[in-house]
């Protein structure tokens, strides 16, 4: 059993299709903690004690958000700045998060092939996520391959949102139940909906 906390960060939820569907689907997962970060802190007044306690109480920290300018929405940065204090998350005696894992769940407007040397984004997505990856590493945490929806702009008409949201739910359940083939997952740069089946061990027992 892995204790999962899901942080959802989206400042404009009324305009969201994919993230909203993912969030709705994640609500069906029992036994995990869900936080709507912008609802908890609409005035950016992060409660540091409470957030650190939340991190202590969980093993897998999922960060779900759209990709804004090669990063997360700004409240996530504020949350990181304040919550991951030295002496708590890193540095001298900062060992509280050691052994935990960070999983990002992102939606990117550009198509997958844009995130390559040849594409208009010029870099693979993981390159843009290196600040997060290094943040996790400095805190002694693992950085799981992120779960990504590319081309979210066309996802509605391509009917890719329902499978992506469902894959998200199944992935969360599998992480909760320790059924994710982490070795296989770590070989992937990013996890997409189509990979989910292959990454979940022991499918039969789940039904």
């Amino acid at each position: 059993m892995t204790r999962v906390i899901l942080y959802y960060a989206h400042p404009g939820q009324r305009f969201s299709h994919s993230n909203k569907a993912m969030w709705d689907e994640a609500k069906k997962v029992d036994g995990i903690t869900r936080v709507d970060l912008y609802a908890d802190y609409p005035r950016f007044n992060i409660d540091i004690e409470r957030e650190q306690q939340r991190l202590l109480d969980h093993d897998l920290i999922v960060l779900q958000s759209p990709l804004f300018w090669y990063s997360t929405p700004s409240l996530v940065k504020e949350w990181i700045d304040l919550t991951l204090e030295h002496g708590f998350a890193y540095g001298h005696e900062g060992t509280q998060l050691k052994g935990k894992t960070l999983l990002m769940a992102l939606t990117a407007a550009g198509p997958h092939d844009a995130y390559s040397e040849e594409g208009y984004q010029r870099y693979p997505l993981r390159t843009f996520l290196t600040p997060f990856e290094q943040t996790a590493r400095l805190c002694g945490m693992g950085f799981a391959s992120p779960y990504v929806l590319f081309g979210s702009l066309r996802a509605v008409e391509d009917r890719r949102i329902p499978p992506h949201a469902e894959g998200y739910r199944r992935l969360l359940e599998a992480y909760r139940d320790d059924r994710v083939d982490e070795a296989a997952a770590s070989k992937l740069d990013v996890v997409e909906a189509e990979h989910v089946n292959a990454l979940i061990k022991d499918q039969s027992s789940h039904g």
Binding site: H10, P11, G12, Q13, R14, F15, D36, Y38, A39, D40, P42, R43, P66, F68, P73, A109, G110, G119, Y120, S152, L153
Partner: protein, 654 residues
């Protein structure tokens, strides 16, 4: 020259020594001056000084004081006082005159002499009463206003009394009636440095009645028109010279000019300058005039009080000690009794009733004037007049004692708020907070919590006592008073936060700050939208509506309860605030002071335009205000993507 310097030095030294001692002993400045006068009177008589002519000169201080009182009194307020002015004032003068006359007749005086004595003693001392009320900050209290109404009526009543008195002397009735408005009439005699030949100043004495009336009305009209129309250009003109003393010179010129004009038409100069003061009460130069005239008023009144003290004839007093004291106490008891009854009739409540009763129980400086006038006109025999002079002077001497009784014995029994004297302020804070109620209290707590030094002014003594017990630095006093602000260190303050709750006072204080301390940042509390415009017009740019933020927060809570996402509720609230501030700022630019917004075409047009904008946004976006920031969170469109791709292709081709 040597004589003048010596005399000036004696008077100044007497005041400088006696007044602080008297104040220290809690006796007030008036008694200090009076005692100083008594102390130097042997010296003055050794030097053969004409005290009475100095007194006449010094009485110009009363003229200045009435000008200052007028400045404090907006026309609207004066109009509201009309019942008190005529009813209370009329009854006080009438009843007292009748009662004194009756008693004098009972004591064996002829009726004509008795009536003259009645008039002489019915009047009170404007100088002592107003000076003391001002000093104690009681002018605006109920008792203060009532007292002032009576004093103002007395000032008006002097004119007909001067006209009637000569009629009481037996022969040549008609000619003497003319002399009343002519010759050594009260006005000239009293206010022109003992100019006993002021006849030529009254320019209209020879005219027929209707022409005199016309000239009088013309003079009053001239004061009103000049005050309203010419003050501004005049002061602007003077401002070019960039010399502060020129403002003072202009203010003095104005006051003396009006006094002169009033004398010329046979009116009381004090009345004329009072009227001019009322006319200028709304002017932005009001405080300038106030601070220019005030020192002169103070010095002249001080001189006046000293001469009153010095004029007491102790030889005569000693010779007739019993009767004179009896008459003095009897007179004061009688006047106080009548005042008390009037206070009951006019429903003056609480400590104000006692203040009114005790404040006006003396005979006043008009008594001196009328007495010398009556002796000249052979109405009252010299021997009686001399004794009456003593009675008047003694009653004036006793008045400060009555104020002390009021302060120490009567006021503490009633609510203390109006009777407490301002504290001496020694603390010098970087931030001055005016008003420590529900609003100012929060500001003070926030600033103190963040380690800023504050000086708090408030005039609720209960509130202050409570705060003081918790160790806060708070001071009693009306923050709208310049001297108190000065004492609080406004000259060296970084900021003044105006948190008092009276709309008018807030605006007054803001205007004063703009005029006198433009470099001190002002944060002002506004009670509503219109008040924001007023404060904006007064030059304040940091204006906080007292209920706006809580209203917005309530609206935000309502959004959340209706299911709007908290962050969206927050943004809607922020946007609403921004839009509203934008609109109010634009509207403030076109607001004109004193013009109702509905009669201001520019304002109406702009308000309509803003309303239409709001409406079209509602129809277009479904929301009344533009949530500009949402675009950042809405995914880009297909056209955006196309543009990105084609640009990428171009770059690759390079």
């Amino acid at each position: 020259m040597g004589d003048f310097l010596l005399l000036a030095f004696i008077f100044l030294a007497a005041g400088v020594i006696a007044v602080p001692v008297a104040s220290r002993l809690g006796l007030g400045s008036v008694l200090g001056y009076l005692l100083a006068g008594i102390a130097i009177s042997p010296l003055l008589s050794a030097l053969n000084v004409d005290i009475i002519s100095i007194q006449h000169f010094a009485e110009f201080g009363v003229v200045m004081m009435l000008f200052l009182v007028g400045l404090e009194l907006e026309p609207k307020l004066l109009w509201e006082m009309r019942t008190k002015l005529i009813g209370l004032g009329g009854l006080q003068v009438g009843l007292t005159a009748v009662a004194v006359t009756a008693i004098a007749m009972a004591l064996g005086q002829p009726w004509s002499v008795s009536l003259a004595i009645g008039f002489v003693l019915a009047l009170s001392s404007t100088a002592i009463v107003l000076q003391t009320l001002n000093e104690k900050g009681l002018m605006k209290s109920d008792g203060g206003q009532s007292s002032f109404s009576v004093l103002l009526f007395q000032d008006i009543a002097v004119i007909p009394i001067l006209a009637v008195l000569p009629l009481l002397a037996l022969p040549e009735v008609v000619e003497l009636a003319y002399m009343a408005i002519e010759g050594d009439a009260y006005a000239d005699d009293a206010h022109h440095g003992g100019d006993d030949h002021g006849t030529s100043l009254n320019l209209i004495a020879g005219l027929p009645g209707w022409a005199q009336m016309l000239a009088t009305l013309g003079a009053i009209g001239a004061v009103i028109v000049v005050g309203n129309v010419l003050t501004r250009p005049l002061f602007r003109f003077i401002a070019w010279a960039r010399l502060r003393e020129l403002f003072t010179a202009a203010a003095l010129m104005g006051v003396t000019g009006i006094a002169l004009l009033m004398t010329a038409v046979g009116l009381s100069p004090a009345l004329g300058t009072f009227l001019a003061g009322v006319v200028l009460a709304n002017s932005e130069y009001r405080h300038e005039l106030e601070s220019d005239i005030d020192p002169f008023r103070g010095l002249l009144l001080g001189l006046f009080f000293i001469t009153v003290g010095a004029s007491v004839d102790f030889a005569l007093l000693a010779a007739n000690l019993g009767p004179i004291l009896a008459v003095t106490f009897g007179l004061m008891a009688l006047k106080a009794g009548i005042l008390f009854i009037l206070a009951l009739i006019f429903k003056i409540q609480g400590s104000a009733r006692w203040l009114f009763t005790l404040a006006l129980a003396q005979a006043g400086e008009f008594g001196f004037v009328l007495l010398s006038f009556t002796t000249q006109n052979n109405v009252i025999p010299d021997a009686v007049a001399d004794q009456l002079l003593l009675v008047v002077a003694l009653s004036m001497l006793l008045t400060p004692l009555l104020f002390i009784i009021f302060d120490k014995v009567i006021a503490p029994r009633f609510s203390e708020t109006s009777a407490r004297e301002p504290d001496e302020i020694e603390a010098n804070g970087g931030v001055i907070i005016a008003g420590h109620g529900r609003f100012g209290g929060i500001v003070n707590r926030m600033l103190r919590g963040a380690g800023f030094n504050t000086t708090v002014l408030d005039y609720s003594s209960e509130q202050l006592e409570m705060l003081r017990t918790f160790g806060f630095e708070v001071f009693f006093g009306d923050a709208t008073r310049p001297d108190l602000l000065h004492a609080a260190g406004i000259e060296s303050a970084k900021m003044l936060v105006i948190c008092i709750d009276d709309r008018e006072h807030i605006t007054t204080l803001a205007k004063y700050m703009k005029a006198h301390h433009p470099n001190v940042h002002v944060v002002a509390r506004a009670v509503d939208r219109r008040h924001v415009y007023e404060l904006y017009a007064a030059g304040v740019r940091d204006i906080i509506r007292e209920t706006f933020d809580s209203g917005v927060r309530a609206g935000r809570s309502a959004y959340e309860a209706l299911g709007v996402h908290p962050f969206e509720a927050e943004r809607l609230a922020r946007q609403f605030t921004a839009d509203d501030r934008h609109a109010i700022r634009q509207l403030a630019e076109v607001y004109r002071e004193g013009v109702p917004v509905s009669e201001n075409p520019e304002y109406v047009a702009l308000a309509k335009k803003l309303m239409e904008e709001r409406e079209s946004q509602m129809r277009g976006g479904g929301r009344g205000f533009n949530t500009r920031d949402e675009r950042g969170w809405v995914p880009p469109g297909k056209n955006d993507l196309k543009a990105i791709l084609s640009e990428h292709a171009e770059r690759k081709g390079e």
